[in-house]
Symmetry: C2
Amino acid sequence: MPGRHAAESVRRSQIIKAAYHVAAARGLGGLTVRRVAAKAGVSTGLVLFHFETKEQLIIALLDWVLETTTVLHIGDEIARIASPLDRLLALLQQEMDRLSSEPDRIRLFFDFWARGIRHPGIRAKMWRELARYRDAFRPMAEEVLRAAPDRFRGVTAEGLAAVAVSFIKGCAVQSMIDPQRFDIAQYLAATNGLVGQLEGASRARRLRRAPLRSRTV
Amino acid sequence: MPGRHAAESVRRSQIIKAAYHVAAARGLGGLTVRRVAAKAGVSTGLVLFHFETKEQLIIALLDWVLETTTVLHIGDEIARIASPLDRLLALLQQEMDRLSSEPDRIRLFFDFWARGIRHPGIRAKMWRELARYRDAFRPMAEEVLRAAPDRFRGVTAEGLAAVAVSFIKGCAVQSMIDPQRFDIAQYLAATNGLVGQLEGASRARRLRRAPLRSRTV
DNA sequence: TTGTACGCTGAACTGGCGTTCAATATAATT
DNA sequence: AATTATATTGAACGCCAGTTCAGCGTACAA
């Protein structure tokens, strides 16, 4: 039934959400204009009427995924933690919880990441996202450097933030290929030990009292 | 010129190497039977005569990539380092050198990794590779646990190995999306600081005398 | 009421893909 | 020399993809 129906923006977001469901279920490789149209309950032509090309649809999907993924929001409970290193660990824990709560989204994100290697447009957006990620760690990294200047002689906040990001991305990459057995609690415990006990017993006690929720992803 | 020519295995490896060049240049998404045939200088039909389906060709390519990627070989210079933590850092450095020396191979590896998320056959092979990776760190991880039992109370060698793998994979993932600016030397310096100076000044002096070769990937 | 701009449809076009297969040339066997 | 087994070709097939577009229906302006 052709004719004037939904407003431009409504249709666009309707189609993008359909695209998200298709991509989350079948991956970017399984994303086709026809499938998106079917999922959205519209015709093939309409999808391209609103997005011109499939590539632009994919870019719009990426934008939507990045916008609607609340990443690295530093809540009150975390801001209240005194030690910078402890706060960093709490942030890591929060990010790793997301791994188990939104696996489809993380998988799709990873799919985009891989595509970014060959696709300059996607890579640029991913690079910006990575920069955002590192920037979120930066103030914390600077605090860490200030708290232990001898330990981090010659180290920049940027470098430290990159390592912090690696804890998260590295964990995601591993749990993605080994979703059943990868033990996040163990991962965090080992991280905790490696980072070093700046305050010794106090942190150990706190971790024991508030056990980690999810054992595997 | 049809007829009996090269032996089975010769042709197979010839085609696999052609597939590698195509995949390295265009990604797994750009790998087609026709392109591989053209690169190998044979007909389309011959590729499928030797590999039955495109999927089997891809699996064979993955096997070849995994076989011919010398990963985590612990050489004499590294084995001679006394401190386990220092040895771990040397291993990390070695792996990161590979990032800059064989970017195409690493990119292709990453491409397979992403495909493994949806493809059980590929995922199984990648999981085995990940296990190999962690196992290579395990003896070292056990030494670390033995050297500082208080620091790593409740931590298993498996968990510690997973974190070590994260340093590498996380670095690769970041430098892949940001090949120009990602500073590996800074990354290692920050890692060094985070892991903690078990031996203090001695390591700092050693690192200063033997500067890191590659600044970026 | 009429006209028109816009949203919308879906069949049709083009192209590239994986795959098949009859024909054929070569090497090994007899 | 004749036969057989094998390696090789490349045209052909069917499929599914992205994209186009002529036509249709609806809502709003005049």
